[in-house]
């Protein structure tokens, strides 16, 4: 491939920071993240870019190494994600066990019913292994795992015709919205927080654009008029969304189209306005930010890009850090200075980890480079 498209790394890195910030409950910084200026949030960005890079990396592998190896590489990645998810689950279990003492107070126990899964740990663990037990904040990796597990099919479709997976995927999305299809989860009558049947559409859109790149074409550039329309739409959405945020912080400020807010709520099934918002953002970004944009090479973009290039580890670290940050804020110290410290420290640790991983990658690649095929970094 002729030079990496740093925009992918940059915006994926940014979405990792935002996911960390948004996952700390009642974090004042979360007023300044994507959902304050759009109808969607960082989850949409993350899934879109994941689809794009998956098609780029495994599409190239398909053409170079053939289907068998490409599929094997996909499943090696699925396995890594699965192990990461189970690791996060163990940390979550430790935290819950710790906080259980406070919650078994009848003042809360009666209404929270937290015991439900802790009274049956053997069953809960099996459900966690089967991915259908998704505690808060541990719900996006299962989505990613399922999407990637189905990815060989998407790749196969893309190699037949670029639009084939997109059409099938759009149909599944429409039927899911129409008939309310959902995936069952544990316990009780829950469903998967991120419904894969709906979210696959965004993933496939990303994958289709990424496959264009894998074929050796330059990155997709929307026609001028689409780009300009997207900028206008994304701008209008930003104004509406900002008016809600402003109203939220300062009550007398009038919110624009307040009832529209209800249509942005259905994150589970990727509500159409959310999909519309992320697609407008994507097209606007492609229109405004060129792959060789100067700021991508600047010093301050570097840490963000590093995080985007090591997204799996940094993502998991971000989840762990938001849990720890929440713990510090609730149990030890609250208030604005502590909150800011937790945010800064968390992001600094994410960057430091990404830098360490990057160093490790380059340093261990240096000797005997020609004989070793570098692992695809997706």
């Amino acid at each position: 491939m002729s030079g990496r498209d740093l925009r992918l790394d940059f915006f994926r890195g940014l979405s990792l920071f935002i996911i960390f910030i948004d996952h700390i409950p009642e974090n004042p910084l979360s007023y300044f993240t994507l959902h304050s200026v759009a109808f969607c949030d960082a989850a949409e960005v993350f899934i879109f870019i994941s689809g794009y890079t998956a098609a780029l990396v495994y599409g190239q592998s398909l053409m170079r190494n053939g289907a068998l190896l490409a599929v094997a590489q996909v499943y090696r990645r699925v396995w890594q994600l699965y192990v990461a998810h189970i690791f996060l689950f163990v940390i979550f279990t430790a935290e819950v066990s710790y906080t259980l003492v406070a919650i078994e107070n009848p003042m809360y126990a009666e209404e929270l019913g937290v015991g439900d899964f802790l009274t049956q740990p053997h069953i809960a663990v099996l459900h966690a292994l089967a991915l259908d037990f998704q505690p808060p904040f541990l719900d996006i990796l299962p989505l990613y795992i399922v999407l990637l597990a189905a990815f060989p099919l998407i790749l196969l479709g893309l190699s037949r015709h670029l639009l084939l997976p997109g059409l099938v995927s759009a149909a599944v999305y429409a039927l899911t919205l129409r008939f309310g299809w959902a995936l069952h989860a544990y316990p009780d009558d829950r469903v998967w927080f991120f419904n894969p049947l709906a979210w696959q559409f965004l993933f496939v859109i990303g994958a289709s654009l990424g496959y264009v790149r894998a074929l050796g074409h330059p990155p997709y550039q929307p026609p001028r008029w689409i780009g300009q329309a997207a900028v206008t739409v994304a701008g209008a959405i930003a104004v509406i969304s900002l008016s809600w945020t402003a109203h939220w912080i300062y009550d007398p400020f009038p919110p624009l189209f307040p009832k529209l807010w209800y249509f942005t709520l259905d994150k589970t099934s990727l509500a159409p306005v959310r999909l519309f918002s992320i697609l407008a953002l994507v097209m606007a970004t492609l229109h405004l930010v060129a792959p060789e944009a100067a700021f991508l090479g600047s010093r301050w973009a570097r840490p963000v890009i590093l995080c985007g290039q090591n997204s799996l580890y940094v993502f998991c670290l971000g989840i762990v850090l938001s849990v720890l940050g929440h713990f510090v804020l609730e149990e030890l110290q609250s208030g604005l200075p502590a909150q800011m410290a937790v945010n800064l420290l968390g992001i600094a640790l994410m960057i430091a980890t990404a830098a360490l991983l990057q160093w490790f990658k380059t340093a261990s690649r240096r000797p005997r480079a020609p004989s070793v095929q570098p692992a695809p970094s997706e």
């Binding site: 009642e26 979550f92 906080t99 807010w261 259905d266 929440h326 110290q333 800064l344 420290l345």
Partner: protein
């Protein structure tokens, strides 16, 4: 990149120092600042009853924390009864009744189903509706929660009742197990868009935790019913203040 790493040691020290200072122990003075308590939407029908000194009937419908059984006898120690006492004290000679219609582990939809028998049949002036917890615990879709809440509010409105919404109980630990935030936000938005007085119990209890009025995280086993009774007493007092504010 160096610039980013420089302030780190300072931050670590600050964080550790901050963690070392324990919260001060203040005793039960559960008043809260006006900005947490006060909300713009008025309670005109309640105001009219108070002004005319006519009997005022209130229904408190909600879940386990309305039923109040954690304190033992919910009818005596739950917040609805404390609200009744506090309102009577604030308006001497007035006939105030608060009916407790709390049922544990009910979703918002189940409460709306109970409206005809438990709310409309009692013919109250004001309905205090405490909800959201079970929806968050069961992971009901937030958009579904918001829609049911809207429908419930519309149905109460259709019966010409004053409405006050009550948000969830706060607990320093439960945030890691249950993600309350989207449901709280939906509750705030619904109250905001529909112009309903929202009694921000979550923020109030959080304020008590932060100022050391109550240590909600760590209550010895043998003191728990007593503790719950104290919290409900405080909720009742502050709620009475909120009702008076809304009916000013």
């Amino acid at each position: 990149m160096r610039r980013i790493f420089l302030p780190l040691p300072g931050l670590v020290v600050a964080l550790l120092a901050a963690a070392a200072i324990a919260a001060p122990e203040v005793n039960v003075n559960c008043r809260v600042p006006g900005e947490i308590l006060e909300d713009d939407p008025p309670l005109p029908l309640t105001a009219a009853k108070l002004k005319a000194k006519q009997p005022l009937r209130i229904v408190a419908i909600g879940g386990a924390s309305t039923a109040g059984t954690a304190a033992g006898d919910g009818n005596a120690y739950g917040y609805p009864h404390r609200l009744e006492e506090a309102l009577r004290a604030r308006h001497p000679g007035m006939d105030v009744t608060v009916l407790n219609k709390g049922v544990a582990r009910q979703t918002t939809a189940q409460m709306v189903e109970r409206f005809p028998g438990d709310v409309f049949a009692a013919n109250p002036t004001l309905v205090i509706w405490e909800t959201g917890t079970v929806d968050a615990v069961r992971g009901i879709d937030v958009d579904q929660f918001a829609a049911v809440l809207e429908a419930g509010i519309a149905s109460l409105r259709a019966h010409r009742l004053d409405i006050m919404l009550v948000s969830m109980q706060y607990n320093p630990s439960s945030g890691s197990v249950i993600n309350f935030e989207p449901y709280l936000e939906a509750l705030r938005h619904a109250a905001d868009f529909d112009d309903i007085y929202l009694f921000r119990r979550y923020e109030i209890m959080k304020y008590w935790t932060e100022t050391g009025v109550f240590d909600l995280a760590d209550v010895p086993k043998d003191r728990r019913p007593q503790f719950a009774a104290e919290v409900y007493q405080c909720i009742g007092n502050v709620l009475a203040e909120a009702v008076d504010y809304g009916a000013r």
